[in-house]
Amino acid sequence: MARYILKRVLISIPVLIGVVFVIFFMLNVVPGDPVTLMMGEHIKPDLIEAFRERMGLDDPFIVQFFNYLKNAVQGDFGMSYKLNREVSGLIFQAFPHTLKLTLWAALVAWIIGIPAGILSAVKQNTLVDRGFMTFSLMGVSMPVFWAGLLLQYVFAYKLGWLPVTGYKTWQAMIMPSLVLGWSSAGTIARLTRSNLLEIMKNDFIRTARAKGLKEGTVVVGHALKNAMLPVVTMMAIQVSSLLGGAVMTESIFGIPGLGRVAVSAIGDRDMPLLQGTIIFTTMLIIAGNLIADLLYSVLDPRIRVE
């Protein structure tokens, strides 16, 4: 077990380095001189030269990459061109907002998604099932940004129940969490349903019935635990899609999280900031995958007891 954990952690490290490399490579082949971007057009050439040297911009690409990697490990992602502040500081300022949004959305997704999936499976091919599944598929098919705008129009503008944007009050968090959570809820409900139906075909379910257990015990006690194992893995994928969706949600509801930072970094062509945000977010996702994997191995005795 300990070896398994160690192995999983060790596998993540090259992936993480690869991620940094890919981002670094893509962003550093961009045409356009960062120094001019940062200092404006009318600067004396020798000043630019001196600055380039200090920033290490004349070093070979691979040297620049390893310097960046070395600094990144120590939590230094460089300076933002535009805001002239440390990228790491900006990230840690934005991260709590994204975390809060993502957690709320995940909560919405799980509270709606899992019961909906179970009910649909138990009542397979009934009106309940169809209703939930159409609702889920709509969540999956509806663009996050559009759902956000729709809610803003109805609940903020027409009814005036909730603030249009913001993030400080719990009322302000309702719409963003619902918008972001809905599509995840759809995915989770669909997965829970299909897993549960698949598990219910197993021989051991017949054994459980043959023992004289109540149908509720059979479903909750015997099928659900098996069905939830892949759903736990799904949780990791959900972290990824929630963080992706957070970009849209944050930009609609004006939440100053990582997604919004990334989007405005693109607008400002602020490469170090974009680079730092993306790398940080991806790190979170890799960590999420790792946790899900470990959780899976703890829950599944077939792996745990080996």
Binding site: T207, R209, K211, G212, N226, P301, R302
Partner: protein, 332 residues
């Protein structure tokens, strides 16, 4: 035992019909089957796969899943009618008075729970006993079904046990409430021959020790010969022949049973080519007219293709569904 009605069989299935309503049509998997299981006896139900023997067995506890449905007949346990009974009543019988062992010990146990927990669940589902007492009884039962290191095995997960041990766990689970009837659906098919012998021996012993009747579903006539008292031979959803164990082997009547027996290889047989029933099991959606075995039967006569034979009495509790025995005669 005294309050039990001595005059009725433990289980009496009469004219049972279980059909499957598929989108291709209605499949009459069990098409009017009558089986009686007396107390303290091992009764075999034999036939090729798809003949309806498992469906018959599963119908007793209504473990038939959609699109299957019992559409007619009666199943009486101890004089109590089970067809049409309330699901809660059926549930109180499952695992309690009647329990089942399935073919695949590999997949019949839930992989995410310990075997001990799964067996004790069978006890707590029916009896108000403490967790500790249930646990003790499971350990005792594990010992009774020959699981070594029973205490330790209680905490094992299914994947940690061998096929033979898992099947012993299944038997232990089935016997946990000391049922009156044990339905064993191909209990040894997935096991090695040596393990098979041990499991059969165990079942015989359980019948002896606990007085449990056993309904043994199998395709293997060798297994039947070893343990059964009385045998039903099924083909395409109907009983073709039923007889006491000695009658069946010594005075085999139905051409189908003969075919089955002839295709068991005998070490003493001189000819090398083994016997093979020609043709294939009929598609239940398109049953042949007349006797369902007629297209494959060596003795088939014109009437066999026209009319369906009934079960004719060949004497000595021996019934045969074949026109050859219509007047108590036999094939030339």
């Amino acid at each position: 035992m005294s309050e039990l009605q001595k005059n009725e069989e433990l289980l009496k299935i009469t004219d049972l019909k279980t059909h499957f309503f598929t989108h291709k049509g209605v499949v009459p998997a069990v098409d009017g089957v009558s089986i009686e299981i007396p107390r303290r006896q091992i009764v075999g139900v034999v036939g090729e796969s798809g003949c309806g023997k498992s469906v018959t067995a599963m119908s007793v506890l209504q473990l038939i899943s959609r699109p299957g449905k019992i559409v007619g007949g009666s199943i009486r346990l101890d004089g109590r009618e089970l067809v049409g009974a309330d699901i809660n009543e059926i549930r109180s019988i499952r695992g309690n008075k009647v329990s089942v062992i399935f073919q695949e010990p590999m997949t019949s146990l839930n992989p995410v729970y310990t075997v001990g927990r799964q067996v004790s669940e069978a006890i707590t589902a029916h009896q108000a006993v403490s967790q500790e007492e249930a646990r003790q009884r499971v350990v005792d039962m594990f010992k009774a079904v020959g699981i070594p290191e029973a205490e330790k095995r209680y905490k094992s997960y299914p994947h940690q046990l061998s096929g033979g041990l898992r099947q012993r766990v299944m038997i232990g689970m089935a016997m946990a409430c000391q049922p009156q009837l044990l339905i064993a659906d191909e209990p040894t098919t997935a096991l090695d021959v040596t393990i098979e012998a041990q499991i059969l021996h165990l079942m015989k012993q359980l019948e002896h020790d606990f007085g449990t009747s056993i309904m043994l579903i199998t395709h293997n006539l060798g297994v039947v010969a070893e343990v059964c008292d009385y045998v039903y031979v099924m083909y395409a959803g109907k009983i073709m022949e039923q007889a006491g164990i000695f009658d069946l082997f010594d005075h085999t009547a139905h051409p189908y049973t003969k075919g089955l027996l002839n295709s068991i290889p005998k070490p003493t047989a001189e000819k090398r080519r083994l016997y093979n029933i020609k043709g294939m099991v009929p598609n239940l959606l398109r049953l042949p007219k007349g006797c369902r075995f007629s297209p494959r039967c060596e003795y088939a006569r014109p009437e066999c293709f026209e009319h369906e034979p009934e079960l004719y009495d060949a004497g000595n509790q021996h019934l045969v569904r074949c026109f050859l025995y219509k007047n108590g005669g036999g094939p030339a």
